[in-house]
């Protein structure tokens, strides 16, 4: 790509990111509601960890359990924000009735979708850091042995596979204006169930464990827990890293390609617009 088209794509990319931050600012009441819900959820998960000792009647490592639950809750919060924002790109624009303007702009679809992903990462990280800060007031967390550099590395690698999954999911609202978003939510709920957000996947029936191996969240959660709870290095976690890299490398380009094919299908069938 020569400099001029590249500059155009970069300007478009910044415009998508800025627009999304502007929308977040303008819909601040919704943001407050979802934010409070996520904080309450995370704190609840922390207290479930704290309450296990009293519940089971046997001594357990409470700090480990609280952190285990909090990592699950906060990481799931980050990944689901990433997934939702990307997956609902089309649905949101359809609801705002701006979809035709965005889709007739001279901008590559990959720029459009990846810029939305860029916003999702920035927003998701910002939100997770604030949640972690607030939640830490409620618990006496011992993070002395945590390897944060390794945790950030895992988060970085996991983001690609989740963006890929999000782009694949964004196809659903594109091809089905009425039911697409609901199917995305079902997909998200299944990810939560299979990926060991609040438990080790070993507790699942064997067939569910096999399905769990196909979810990037499984490896992201394992990696984050190994980094924060056990202080493991990034380099020692190859068994968690390679599946994330592989899934990112497959899902992201495949998602963009399938989206492009389905966009053409939507233009043939006339379903871009809600009333289509």
């Amino acid at each position: 790509m020569s400099v001029k088209p590249l500059a155009r794509e970069l300007r478009a990319s910044l415009a998508f990111i800025e627009r999304n931050f502007n929308l977040t600012k303008r819909y601040w009441k919704w943001e407050v509601v979802f934010f409070l819900y996520t904080i309450a959820n995370s704190i609840t998960m922390g207290f479930i960890g704290k309450g296990v000792e009293a519940f089971s009647g046997t001594p357990v490592d409470t700090n480990y359990l609280i952190l285990y639950m909090l990592i699950g809750s906060i990481l799931w919060g980050y990944l689901s924000i990433l997934f939702e924002i990307v997956a609902e790109t089309v649905a949101w624009e359809r609801w705002e009735e701006t979809i035709e303007y965005t889709f007739m702009a001279p901008v590559r679809r990959s720029t459009h979708l990846l810029s939305t992903c860029g916003y999702a990462i920035l927003y998701g990280l910002l939100r997770s850091v604030v949640i972690l800060g607030i939640v830490s007031f409620f618990f006496d967390l011992n993070l002395a042995g945590a390897n944060f550099i390794s945790a950030v590395g895992i988060l970085f690698v996991a983001s690609f596979s989740f963006i890929g999954l999000g782009v694949v999911a964004a196809i659903l609202p594109l091809i089905s204006p009425e039911k697409g978003v609901q199917v995305v939510h079902i997909f998200q709920a299944l990810l939560l169930m299979f990926s060991g957000v609040y438990y080790e996947i070993d507790v699942l029936p064997v067939w569910m464990q096999n399905v769990a191996k196909l979810s990037p969240a499984t490896y992201a959660l394992r990696g984050m827990r190994a980094s924060i709870l056990e202080g493991q290095n990034f380099s020692s976690q190859w068994s968690n890293i390679w599946p994330l890299i592989l899934m990112g490398a497959v899902l992201l380009p495949a998602g963009l390609k399938i989206f492009s094919i389905m966009e053409k299908w939507a233009k043939r069938k006339g379903v871009l617009k809600r009333s289509g």
């Binding site: 500059a7 155009r8 794509e9 300007r11 478009a12 910044l14 415009a15 998508f16 800025e18 627009r19 502007n22 929308l23 303008r26 819909y27 705002e96 009735e97 701006t98 035709e100 303007y101 965005t102 889709f103 007739m104 702009a105 001279p106 901008v107 053409k264 233009k267 043939r268 069938k269 006339g270 871009l272 289509g276």
Partner: protein, 268 residues
């Protein structure tokens, strides 16, 4: 004169409630560079479908459409770079301000912030926007003001082709007049080719160099508004555009709006 939009035998079918509806039944249109071309027809006649096909949002089932000799399906980026559209719905992010919407639109058309700011500044007075309200959410604007922002958004990209899909529908008479004046001003200032769809016959007569009457997905007649009226002088004294519509569709415009066929009207 160069042909800006060339459409040949455009057919478009949709599946609605398990039935196949043919929205366009073989449309042939040639629009010359710099002209204001009107597509006049009642609701459901196929005007917006044609606009969507021309603007890369919809693929025809049959036929071909070219913009300055570039096939719309094969070269969508070229078409998108030289085209913009104003539709009947203002289509904005309602909670965002006029500025935020305009900067977003400029950005996705590859226009820098500085250039966009200068363009917005130069358009404020031309389009008749209230400078003090540009930071207010678009949802607080009247329909007329929203449509002026939509026109500013389209003008900002200096389109060689402007698609105006019922831009004055639902506007009060004053806002309607303002928008019509803007369209004529744009044509006077630039060489933009304008395709205007409308179901307002006076508007078509007032603004368009040539008009096609479209009904049930077919072009019934094409010509200069005065020329079309002249065709009726032997039949009717002082024919109006409504008479032209009746002559070539067999229906009054009102009957056509409610989807009556000419047979139903005759038997009634």
């Amino acid at each position: 004169m160069a042909i800006a939009i060339h459409a040949k035998n455009i057919v478009k079918k949709f599946k609605k409630n398990k039935k196949i509806v043919t929205a366009l039944k073989g449309i042939d249109i040639d629009i010359y560079e710099g002209e204001i071309y009107g597509l006049l027809g009642p609701n459901g006649s196929g005007k917006s479908t044609f606009i969507r096909i021309a603007s890369t949002l919809l693929f025809p089932d049959e036929g071909e459409i070219e913009i300055f000799d570039h096939d719309v399906r094969k070269h969508p980026k070229y078409v998108q770079e030289i085209m913009n559209r104003v539709s009947v719905e203002a289509s904005f992010f309602r909670k965002l301000s006029a500025y935020e919407n305009l900067f977003y639109s400029a950005g996705i058309h590859g226009i820098s912030k500085k250039e966009a700011f200068n363009k917005i500044e130069s358009l404020i007075d031309k389009v008749g926007l209230d400078r003090k309200r540009l930071k207010d959410p678009l949802e607080d604007f009247s329909r007329g003001m929203q449509q002026k922002v939509a026109i500013a958004r389209a003008f900002m990209t200096d389109p060689k082709i402007l698609l105006l899909d019922e831009p004055t529908t639902g506007l009060d008479p004053r806002a309607k007049k303002d928008v019509q004046k803007l369209i004529l001003d744009l044509r006077a200032r630039t060489k933009a080719t304008i395709l205007l769809t409308t179901h307002d016959m006076n508007e078509a007569e007032k603004l368009c160099d040539r008009v096609s009457i479209i009904h049930n997905g077919r072009i019934m007649i094409t010509g200069h508004p005065q020329e079309l009226k002249r065709k009726l002088v032997n039949k009717i004294s002082n024919p109006t555009f409504e008479d032209v519509f009746i002559e070539f569709t067999g229906l009054s415009f009102e009957d056509a709006e409610y989807g009556k066929s000419s047979k139903e009207v005759v038997s009634a």
